[in-house]
Amino acid sequence: MSDSQTVSVTINGHVYTADCDPRLTLADFIRHKCGLTGTHLGCEHGVCGACTIMVDGRTARACLMLAVQVDGSTITTVEGLASGNELNPLQEAFWDNHGLQCGFCTSGMLMCATELLEENPDPSAEEVREGISGNLCRCTGYDSIVKSVLAAAEKMRS
C-alpha cells in the first residue's frame, strides 16, 4: 500500500498509464490525465449522469469511481463512439432529431442509450424514458431524446 498508485487502463482502444493519487476520481483522471474532456461533470454526486461512461462493458458514473479502481479495465467514453469522422447511428439519430441542445448531458446520454439499446434493441417510448431517467437534461424536455433513441433503434435493427 502506497499513497500514489500506477493506473493502466485502456480507453477507446488506447492504453493510458499514469500515477494517481488514490482520491483522484475516475472522471478527473479521464478528463485531465487522459485529456478526454468529452466526459462531463455536472454534479459530482452521481445524480445527473453527465459523466456516464462504459467500464468493462457496463455503464458507470465516472464521478463515483476512483481512478485507482480501474487499473486493467477497458473503458469507452463518448470519444470512442464515432469511427473516425463518422458518427455512429445513435449519434446520427440525435443529430437528426434535435436530441441535444447545449450538448453537456449528451455524452452521458449517449453512453446510457448505447447500453439501453444493447440490452433492448426494440424499446418502447416508455422503456426509453425509464432507461434514460438517470440522466438529467435541462435543455430538451427529453421528448426529442426519446425520439432520437427510438429512431436509432429502428435504424440499428434494419
Partner: protein
C-alpha cells in the same frame, strides 16, 4: 423600421428544419466547455462560503491555509475590497430603490448561507479544497430573516442597519381608475399566489479562467457567460480599467437559462487572485457551490384581485407582487420581480390597472435571472384569476379568455404598464389549441378515465412573451443601465465564403445554425459556405444586452439579415462589373450570380471575392471600396411579443396527492419560424423547466435560512419519466417591427407551464372545487388540499 428596398431573396433555409451545424462535434465529445479548457501556468481556485445566514465576521485566520503545500494565495473580503469595487447592478426599474450592494467577498458581514468569505488558489482543485478546511472564520451570529413574512414583520431584524426596514423599494403602475372599477364590478376574484424559489440550474456549472497580465496590463478571460460585452463593461467598472484592455471569450456553454446572464463575484475573485499570483486562475463552481452561488429566482408572493362584469368582461386588476430578494442584489436587481407586474395583465384587455411591485431583502441567496424572468409569475396572476372567474360565472374557460383578447386590428396594443404588444391573433391561437385537444381525443381519455374512477384533468394556459429586449431608449427609460441593440458583421472573404460575427452567445439554442440560415438566404449562398463566429469580444461586435430576454433570433437575427442584404447589394454590384450587366438585373442563388431569367452566363461568389480582395484591376468597380463586409446595428423600435396557448393532460392520485403529466401540446406564434425543429426544441425545453418548477423543484430554506435542498438528491430536476410528450402547432404572425418578422421564443415554455399545471389539477379535481395557488405543488400539499375539499364537501352535503 425595415429595409426599404424589396429584395428577391433565396428562401431555401429559413423556415425549414435544418440540422444543426453545432451538433457533430458536440456529439463526438469535442465540445469545449469552461472546465475543459486549460491555459499555460493555470492554477485553480475554490471559495470558502458562509455556513450562517446572517452574522458579523469578527476574524479570519488564513495562515494555516497559506502554509499548505501547493497553495499560492488566499484572500479575504478586505484584500478584495482594496482593489475592486462592489458588484454592479444594471436593472434599476424601481425609482429611488435602496441598493443593497456587496463586494465579491464579504467584508465584515454575511447575509446568506453560501456568501463568499475567502478564496484560495492552489495547484489544483483538490488542494484548493483542502486549504479551505484550514481557514478559520469567527462569526458573531445575527438574528435571521428567513422569509418574506419575517422580513416584513414590524419588529423584524434589519439586514441593512441604515435602512428603516427590509424593503428595498416599491413601484406602482396605474391605468384608468381601478378602485372605481372594483367598486362597480359584478364579480371580484382574488388570490394569494406563491412561487417557491427555483433556479435555472444549467447542467454545466458556471466558471471562468482569468489572466491578469501585469506586464501588458491586460485582463483576459474565458467566461461561461451569456453576456460577454456586459461582463467586459462591468469588469471595467469594478476594476476601473479601460474596456480595451479586457478580452472576454466564451467557450461552449452547457446551458445558461439566465443563470449565466448575470455577472458574478467569482469573475472578480479570480481576477484579483490572478493579479496577485501572476498566474491565470480558473474558478469553476461545483454543484454544491452552484446551489448557493448561482442566481436563485421565482421566489414571489402575488396578492391580486380581478374585477369582472357578469358577461365575463374584465374591468380591473389590482394587486401587489412581493419579490423575496436575498441578502444583496444580483446584477439584475429587482428586474425579474418588476417584470411580473409588467406582464400580470397577460393577453387580456384590462382598462383599469393598479399593480405594485415591492421587493424585500431576506437572508436568502441573491435573486437573479432565470429564463422567463418575471413573466411566469405574471402568467400565474392572470391565468389563475381568469379561471377562478370562469368558475364563479359558470363560463367556459376558453370563452372567457376569448372575450377579453384584443382583436388583431387593435394592435399595437398598450398593455397599461410599459409594454406595447406589437401584433397578435390571440383568438386564432386559442382555437388552434382547443381544436388539437379535440382532435387528439383528450376529452375521451378524460371521460373514460373518470368512468374508471381515475382523476384526469385538462389544463390551459394562454401566455404572452414580450421578447426581443429591447429598444435601448425604452430600456433606459424603465431603468436598465445598459442598451438593447444588437450589432453584426457579415463578411465575404477572398474565395467567396461567408463569416458572420455576432455578439450573441450560443448556449444550446442553436443560433449558429439559425444565423447561418438567415445569412445564406439573404446573401443567396449555400449554408455550408457560412461560418458563424461568436464568443470573443476582441473579434465579435457589441451586443447591447447579451443573450437574454429572448433576443437572439429577433435582434441578433435582424442585424445579420440587414447586414447580409447590404452585402448582397455589394456582391451584385461587383458581379455586375464582371458580367457587364446592371446590378438591378442580377440574382444570386446558391452562390451563383446571373442575369435574372437567363442562365447563360454567371459568375460565382468566388469570382466576386477574388475581384474584391486580390485581382481588382478591371473587376472591382472604381467607386467600390475593396473587401466585402457590412456592419449593421439594429435597435428595435418596439419589443416583439410572441404568445401561445398550451394544454396539458394530467392525472391526480387523490389518495397520495401525486400528479402525473400525460400529454402536452402548445399552439404558438413567434412570427416567422426560422427553423421549426429548433423552435419546438426551445418550447419543449422551457415547458419542461416550468413543469419541474410547478411540481418538483424548490429551494427550501428553514427558519434559520439554511438551504435544505443543496444537492440533486433534494433539488429535484425533472427526469424523462416526469415530463410528458409534447406536440407543437404554429401560426405565423410576423413581427411588424422586426426585419424578417421573427419574435423571440426562448422563454415561452417557462412562462406558460406553471399556471398550466394548476389549471389541469383544478380540472381533475373539479368536483371538489380545489384551486391551486402555491407552487411547487408537492404531493403532501396537494393531498392536504384534497382532504380539506373533501371534508368541506362532506360537511355541506
Amino acid at each position: 423600421m425595415t429595409i426599404a428596398e424589396p429584395v428577391h431573396n433565396q428562401r431555401k433555409y429559413v423556415g425549414t428544419s435544418v440540422r444543426r451545424t453545432e451538433d457533430p462535434r458536440l456529439l463526438a465529445g469535442r465540445g469545449q466547455y469552461i472546465d475543459d479548457l486549460t491555459v499555460p501556468k493555470m492554477i485553480e481556485g475554490a471559495i470558502l462560503r458562509s455556513p450562517l445566514a446572517h452574522a458579523r465576521i469578527t476574524n479570519i485566520d488564513v495562515s494555516r491555509a497559506l502554509e499548505l503545500p501547493g497553495v499560492f494565495d488566499v484572500i479575504t473580503g478586505k484584500d478584495l475590497a482594496a482593489v475592486a469595487g462592489q458588484q454592479p447592478v444594471i436593472w434599476l426599474p424601481i425609482p429611488d430603490q435602496r441598493l443593497a450592494k456587496t463586494h465579491a467577498l464579504a467584508v465584515d458581514r454575511v447575509r446568506w448561507v453560501g456568501q463568499a468569505v475567502a478564496a484560495v488558489v492552489a495547484v489544483d482543485r483538490y488542494v484548493a479544497e483542502d486549504a479551505l478546511e484550514l481557514i478559520e472564520v469567527d462569526y458573531e451570529p445575527l438574528p435571521v430573516v428567513a422569509d418574506l413574512e419575517a422580513a416584513l414583520a414590524p419588529d423584524a431584524p434589519k439586514l441593512y442597519d441604515d435602512w428603516p426596514d427590509n424593503v428595498s423599494g416599491s413601484h406602482s403602475y396605474k391605468t384608468g381608475d381601478a378602485d372605481a372599477a372594483f367598486a362597480s364590478a359584478d364579480l371580484v376574484v382574488s388570490g394569494s399566489f406563491t412561487h417557491g424559489r427555483a433556479m435555472g440550474c444549467p447542467l454545466e456549472p458556471r466558471g471562468c479562467i482569468v489572466s491578469w497580465d501585469s506586464f501588458s496590463d491586460t485582463l483576459d478571460l474565458w467566461l461561461s457567460t451569456q453576456a460577454p460585452n456586459l461582463a467586459r463593461d462591468l469588469l471595467a467598472e469594478v476594476f476601473e480599467v479601460p474596456v480595451s484592455k479586457i478580452r472576454v471569450r466564451t467557450p461552449n456553454l452547457g446551458g445558461g437559462f439566465g443563470n449565466k446572464f448575470d455577472f458574478y463575484g467569482e469573475e472578480i475573485i479570480a481576477a484579483v487572485l490572478s493579479r496577485r499570483t501572476g498566474r491565470p486562475v480558473k474558478i469553476v463552481e461545483d454543484r454544491a457551490d452552484s446551489f448557493v452561488a448561482t442566481g436563485h429566482s421565482r421566489d414571489q408572493r402575488l396578492d391580486f384581485e380581478m374585477a369582472l362584469n357578469n358577461d365575463g368582461t374584465i374591468v380591473g386588476l389590482r394587486g401587489i407582487s412581493y419579490g423575496v430578494l436575498g441578502g444583496a442584489l444580483s446584477t439584475v436587481g429587482a428586474g425579474p420581480c418588476w417584470a411580473s407586474v409588467l406582464t400580470c395583465m397577460g393577453p387580456y384587455k384590462i382598462p383599469n390597472l393598479d399593480v405594485t411591485v415591492k421587493v424585500v431583502m431576506t437572508n436568502r441567496a441573491p435573486y437573479g435571472s432565470y429564463r422567463g424572468w418575471g413573466a411566469p409569475k405574471g402568467n400565474i396572476v392572470h391565468e389563475r384569476l381568469i379561471e377562478m372567474a370562469a368558475r364563479e360565472l359558470g363560463m367556459d374557460r376558453a370563452e372567457i379568455r376569448r372575450k377579453n383578447f384584443p382583436a388583431p386590428e387593435e394592435f399595437p396594443y398598450f398593455s397599461g404598464a410599459a409594454f406595447t404588444f406589437d401584433s397578435g391573433r390571440y383568438a386564432d391561437c386559442l382555437d388552434l389549441a382547443m381544436s388539437k385537444v379535440e382532435e387528439l381525443g383528450w376529452r375521451e381519455r378524460q371521460a373514460k378515465a373518470r368512468a374508471e374512477g381515475r382523476s384526469l384533468g385538462i389544463g390551459y394556459s394562454f401566455h404572452i412573451e414580450p421578447s426581443g429586449y429591447g429598444p435601448s431608449r425604452i430600456m433606459n427609460l424603465v431603468g436598465l443601465q445598459h442598451s438593447g441593440f444588437d450589432e453584426a458583421t457579415v463578411r465575404m472573404d477572398s474565395v467567396g465564403k461567408v463569416t458572420v460575427y455576432s455578439g450573441q452567445i450560443n448556449m444550446g439554442q442553436g443560433t449558429h445554425t439559425t444565423y447561418a440560415q438567415i445569412a445564406a438566404d439573404n446573401l443567396g449562398v449555400p449554408m455550408e459556405d457560412v461560418v458563424v463566429v461568436t464568443g470573443d469580444t476582441d473579434s465579435c461586435p457589441y451586443t447591447g444586452y447579451g443573450t437574454g430576454g429572448s433576443r437572439g433570433a429577433p435582434l441578433g437575427g435582424a442585424s445579420i439579415l440587414r447586414a447580409s442584404q447590404r452585402l448582397r447589394g455589394k456582391i451584385l454590384r461587383v458581379a455586375a462589373q464582371l458580367l457587364e450587366a446592371s446590378p438591378d438585373d442580377l440574382e444570386i442563388n446558391d452562390g451563383q450570380i446571373s442575369v435574372r431569367g437567363t442562365s447563360s452566363k454567371s459568375v460565382s461568389t468566388r469570382d466576386v471575392g477574388d475581384a474584391a480582395y486580390r485581382r481588382l484591376l478591371d473587376k472591382l468597380p472604381e467607386e467600390e471600396m475593396p473587401t466585402l463586409e457590412e456592419v449593421d446595428v439594429f435597435d428595435p423600435p418596439n419589443m416583439a411579443t410572441s404568445y401561445g396557448c398550451t394544454a396539458l393532460l394530467v392525472e391526480v392520485d387523490r389518495e397520495t396527492g401525486m400528479v402525473s403529466l400525460l400529454d402536452c401540446l402548445q399552439a404558438h406564434d413567434c412570427g416567422t419560424v426560422l427553423n421549426p425543429m429548433l423552435v419546438d426544441g426551445q418550447l419543449a425545453g422551457g415547458l419542461a423547466q416550468a413543469l419541474g418548477g410547478a411540481l418538483l423543484e424548490e429551494l427550501v430554506y428553514d427558519d434559520e435560512a439554511q438551504l435544505k435542498t443543496a444537492s440533486f438528491m433534494d433539488y429535484l430536476l425533472p427526469t424523462a419519466m416526469d415530463i410528458p410528450p409534447f406536440q407543437f402547432f404554429h401560426q405565423e404572425t410576423p413581427a411588424p417591427d422586426i426585419p424578417g418578422g421573427v419574435k423571440g421564443v426562448g422563454e415561452a415554455g417557462t412562462i406558460a407551464g406553471v399556471s398550466l399545471v394548476a389549471s389541469a389539477i383544478d380540472d381533475a379535481l373539479s368536483d371538489l372545487g380545489v384551486t391551486v395557488t402555491r407552487f411547487p405543488v408537492t404531493p403532501p400539499r396537494l393531498l392536504d388540499q384534497i382532504r380539506e375539499a373533501q371534508s368541506r364537501k362532506e360537511g355541506s352535503a
